[in-house]
Amino acid sequence: MRLFLAVLRRELLIAYRNSADLLNPLIFFVIVISLFPLGVSPSGPILSQIAPGVIWVAALLATLLSMDSLFRSDYDDGSLELMTFSREPLVLLVLGKIVSHWLVTGVPLAVLSPVLALMLFLNFEGAWALFLSLLLGTPILSLLGAIGASLTVGLRKGGLLIAVLILPLYVPVLILATAMVQAGAQAVDYTGHMLWLGAILAASIGFAPIAASAGVRISLSR
């Protein structure tokens, strides 16, 4: 457990010192969303209707964009190899990396999303539902993405392959989350959606780190 905290500390310190890379997914997220009023229509009713889907797709792609770097630098400099010799299970270290990835990409996306939601004329209740859905959904994206990142880290051009591997797994999350935001915007009860997202999150916390650490071992044994 102490090693889990050590990974978290190390990852956050590296992220802090590398803050330019850190901002990339966030800037991508904002740019993509702000292009929609220009490209589709500036009218309120249209924008508020597409807002949940647009924001969620942008968040999903922003996460996917940052996923490739999860294990990449540790693989390149040999840290990943040394991690497999650790006195505590590799699963814990991988989970630590995933949690820190979520803290530096998922959480900022969720925090920023209500502002962008209001820009797309989503009402206040919808923006709140969006915030909650991203808070529950982005950790799932980080967890599932880690599986793809672990399997492709040994390849030179793994970026697109991650998308192909992982996007099908992201689809249920996308459907549930956008339905939740739409329900929120229409003042319909969305507890059911939240419970479903929570269930997927719980399942992925349990299984994704195990799958990702197995993927890391496969990628290293080449």
């Binding site: 190390r10 310190l13 010799f85 006195r87 044994s221």
Partner: protein, 194 residues
């Protein structure tokens, strides 16, 4: 300490070695020799469980994991020498104090570089941060892949005395090196290829 029986490995349709058997006991050195591409690194990775496409038995009699230091130093550019070493030793043991880390960095000749980011260091200095692990860890088995590359003459002498101390306390050492190595104990040699 290590028993290897009938080890064979084929890689990319090429037989690297076949029916390899050897033992390494306490206080012994095994130098794996061979040309480039002969399978030295693959053999060391098999011994450490990093590569699993082989036939045969690898049997360590050890309570702790062997220390494996490969070609890549495992040192992060954005962390200082001290932060890197604290993290790396933490992977193996929880009882290393900051004072010990400072002492180890001094021993590998990095006095004054403790708080310098490793990204600002030379290749050899990064390698030295990695080698400082050897001064800190209790493990009795060392598996070192080209530990002398990028290290200067003085550093090599330092490392040799560190290896001697390790062997004297009953440790064993398996390594590859293209550079000549002078240790106080006799060096067992294993030649790969042909």
């Amino acid at each position: 300490m290590l028993n290897v029986n009938h080890l064979s490995c084929e890689r990319d349709y090429r037989l690297l070695f076949e029916d390899l058997s050897f033992t390494v006991n306490e206080g012994e050195v095994l130098l794996v020799e061979g040309g480039n591409g002969a399978g030295k690194t693959t053999l060391l990775r098999i011994l450490c469980g990093l590569y699993s496409e082989y036939q045969g038995d690898v049997d360590w009699r050890l309570s702790e994991t062997p220390v494996y230091l490969g070609h890549k130093p495992g040192v992060k550019d954005l962390l200082s020498a001290r932060e890197n070493l604290t993290w790396l030793t933490g992977l193996y043991q929880s009882d290393i104090t900051p004072a010990q880390i400072t002492a180890a960095l001094w021993q590998v000749g990095l006095k004054g570089f403790e708080e310098v980011l490793c990204g600002a260091m030379s290749e050899g200095q990064r390698k030295r941060v990695n080698l400082a692990l050897l001064y800190l860890l209790d493990s009795l088995a060392w598996v070192l892949d080209e530990p002398l590359s990028a290290i200067d003459v003085e550093g090599v002498a330092n490392l040799e005395s560190c290896m001697d101390a390790h062997l004297a306390r009953g440790g064993s050492l398996i390594l590859t090196s293209h550079l000549p190595l002078s240790l106080s104990r006799p060096i067992k040699k294993l030649r790969l290829g042909n």
